[in-house]
Symmetry: D2
């Protein structure tokens, strides 16, 4: 159970079968530095290219296709007192005839006070002079190398994870990815100081960070889409367009989970899901949207 | 501020410009009995036809096209110790190639213990022998007569409200509808003892109820889609397919609200919404899906 | 086999169970005048309100719920030498970030030369000075009263027909509608001098017309969605959003047709459809989009 | 203007920056053998893996990012007298509640008579004993390496082309791709003896072939999505889900084309497109659907 500290020298704009940056054992813990979505690090220096340059990949010994990689997010420590967002709603989240209300999109700076746990606009308009939001850092983009030799842009997401931009991927949460290549090849980056549902301006508050995670290989455990566990819930995430299809993927993965691990047939699983699921719209901005299907642990039989 | 008790004699399967069942003043409170989604009342007798037979309409004096009708839901009292659900996930909420896993859909009875606040299957499979869910009654279908002389099926929803099946329409919540005809003509029914996000088996726990509400006309206040207020949040609801479009409607209505009533321009409203909205998938089953856009009151400047 | 001439005195903005304007026998032929989409007649006088005011309804003797109404479109004669269109692409048919390229939408006049069979802009920009299009008049909106007492806006469409805006609904074509009420109650209007696929500026060339049609009741023949026949093909039309769902409706209706009337099982019908269907995007503008599924007669076994 | 004959030794399941299989000059012509979608060649021997193993890549000298690669399809010669299809409609193209009508999907053999130009089922059900279809060979999957170092699965498509499965990609057609890497790196394969709109059983008639094409670099000509030209029309193709978004991409690309090359402003281009476009649903099966936007040459001013 070694603990590694990792500072990236080369960042990746695709999640694919790139040469491992570090090889670790199952059970090891890593603290890894990440750049923001446009490649700026803790000093504000550009060390990677957009979109979402990734730290990694980490080769986890023993991981083989068909296994599951469990990433326990131990801590997300923001390493820069500034972040940035876009400043107008994305045109795809409003009615088509409302698009013309917005000026051209600009990048806007935020000041992050990690100790107070608040972030505020660096130069707010008068109407937002006293306005601030609570920070709750999360990982925007992470995942494992896909099959077939694919190298998938970090702008998007799929079964392998990727740019899911879900506010629930925060410290204390365990996330599972389906392993498609030997060593799994885990990538991460694109931390947000906080984010709303849907990432509807196209960003959370984008910043640099150090993420501490523990990686564990679950041998012979095969999943179809990323899954997660937190203190009170289990959840699945589906990535696709439109939202309807992302929701179908997440719902089907939860059905698979309940039928395989909780002793429920299709009808019993339908009763539990039918009366108890909660959905989150993780992002409705990226090339693939992301929908989360959650079930409270105390709703499970 | 009169209080009325109303028991329907004829129920409606469309929301339209039907003859008023009762005329009330703005500010009046009504306690009205509702049948379940298939027309069964508190005794289990069939008093209406599917889908979702409505109690009403209530003509609210003074309401004119362009006004807003505010309905404060005071209480939802379940009047039957039984409810029903469907027993398999709707084929549209799972991956198309997973549809064949399910047996044919059947109606399933539930026992509701309103005092304990729990509901359970009347004849559970062994795997769910000890399983129950908390009840939290909500209104599945309510709204006001639309414009153009339309009479819209209670299976679906639109700007006028209708079969939105949102679990947030519960006691303590205030809901606003855009008035399209003189008197507003308010209908309600289809109470659920509880419901998950998405209504993914096609029902909540469908039952009979008495709903107590206060109706108030907001003169000269024009809205585009239903809106709501609860203790901690303001919210809008959009109804359409696919989910993407329902989300666009709800997001645009929230934008309109923040710009008209909170002194924000398009950029300031984008900042607030962009970092603070929450979405709920109210239903992903009906002909029109429903998505809710919520903003916490303490996130508003 | 009587022939009727009908000039409307009151037009309808919903398709529903309105009082019959004329009662005819199955097999009768009617020549009926129609106003354009904004209610202007052959003289340019406003005789109805937007959207798409309908001529009718025609009560066809003998039609009962569960029957099919066949409308043979004999002739569509344009009765005004002018038409109009909108002048910019609808914001929903281009990428969301391209919407801001267009100026505000305006109504534009066209000159129709029915004898030459061409239409051209009344005041073209220099780049279109010599540009004209062939006319091929079609019915934008027609259908029968729906069930449940619904009155459905003529802006949209459904199983009952309605505002499908398909360029294939022209002279020489037979169209079938599912009868939902006694007498069928057939409405028509919204003739276009011509229209592209998708109706992507939101209009065809909107004009006034006289339509000659023969109505025939097909007893005991039950269909789910409108169907059509022309010299070379059979086709079905599905109406919904998104296009994916409209396509599903049209495809399923064609499957039903081939299985019921052509002696094919699900696999044989899949082979025929799988190698031979053509799709048309009828409209991608209205609240419900419309997709047509066509099979050539000579591809049928 | 050299002519090359190329027989692949290694096939690719992604379109990406793989080592060139052959370097050619702009203007050169290549005749290249292709395997079918599951990797079977002209002898029926398996020389590649599913999905859609690609022949190539061809490095075209002089091509740089920002250029356009024009591929003139000279000839598609089928090299095997057999093909195969799936035998049931894909579950995503019918109504969700119709999915259960179909038995499990099987591969079905077809006999191709290239001389007579017909294909028929090798073992037809009695209802299709005399049924055959005309062959019209087309390229299912082709395109150029994408940017960012992506390697995109040949199951799907994007701006780079890929698995678009459009029946219009046949001999006599010129297709343009946006060059994203030096040398363009052109791949091709997945020939179909014929295909319907939508590829709704998930295949055309899949077979092996030799494709003859001429590659030409258009320097400094930048496009956003694949474009095509045939004798009578110009067209664009957009790839995405749902169909609505694929249509938006194709429509926007046509708008760009008309505005850049035909001297039309946004309004004039809207008039031409608004009255003249035709849409094809190329495929509604793959992870990204494909929609084609066509304009007749004689409709262009």
């Amino acid at each position: 159970m070694t603990t590694h500290h990792f500072t990236p020298t080369a960042l990746h704009n695709t999640i694919g079968s790139h040469s491992p940056a570090l090889t670790i054992a199952s059970g090891d813990t890593v603290t890894a530095a990440t750049a923001d979505a446009h490649g700026f690090d803790f000093r504000g220096e550009k060390i990677g290219e957009r979109p979402n340059p990734m730290t990694g990949p980490f080769f986890i010994e023993g991981a083989e296709p068909g296994d599951t990689l469990l990433i326990a997010i131990r801590d997300i420590r923001m390493t820069r007192p500034t972040g940035w967002t876009f400043d107008v709603l994305s045109p795809n989240v409003v009615d088509p005839n409302a698009v013309q209300r917005f000026p051209e999109r600009r990048k806007t700076e935020w000041l992050i006070d990690a100790q107070k746990g608040r972030a505020r606009l660096a130069a707010p308009p008068p109407s937002l002079a006293k306005w601030s939001v609570a920070v709750e850092p999360m990982i925007g983009c992470f995942g494992v190398a896909p099959d077939l030799g694919q190298a998938i842009s970090t702008a998007t997401s799929g079964r392998h994870g990727g740019n899911m931009d879900y506010r629930g991927f925060k410290a204390g949460v365990e996330v599972m990815f389906p392993v498609a290549v030997r060593g799994a090849l885990f990538f991460l980056g694109d931390v947000h100081a906080q984010q709303c549902d849907g990432e509807i301006v196209g960003t959370g508050i984008e910043t640099a960070a150090e993420v501490t995670f523990t990686a564990r290989v679950l041998k012979g455990s095969k999943i179809g889409w990323p899954r997660g566990l937190n203190e009170t819930e289990i959840f699945t995430i589906g990535n696709a367009r439109p939202l309807d299809q992302a929701l179908q993927h997440a719902t089907t993965e939860m059905l698979d989970w309940l039928m395989a691990d909780y002793g429920l047939d299709a009808v019993a699983a339908s009763h539990v899901m039918g009366q108890c699921v909660r959905y989150d719209v993780a992002n409705v901005f990226n090339p693939a949207y992301s929908v989360v299907c959650r079930v409270a642990r105390d709703a499970l039989p």
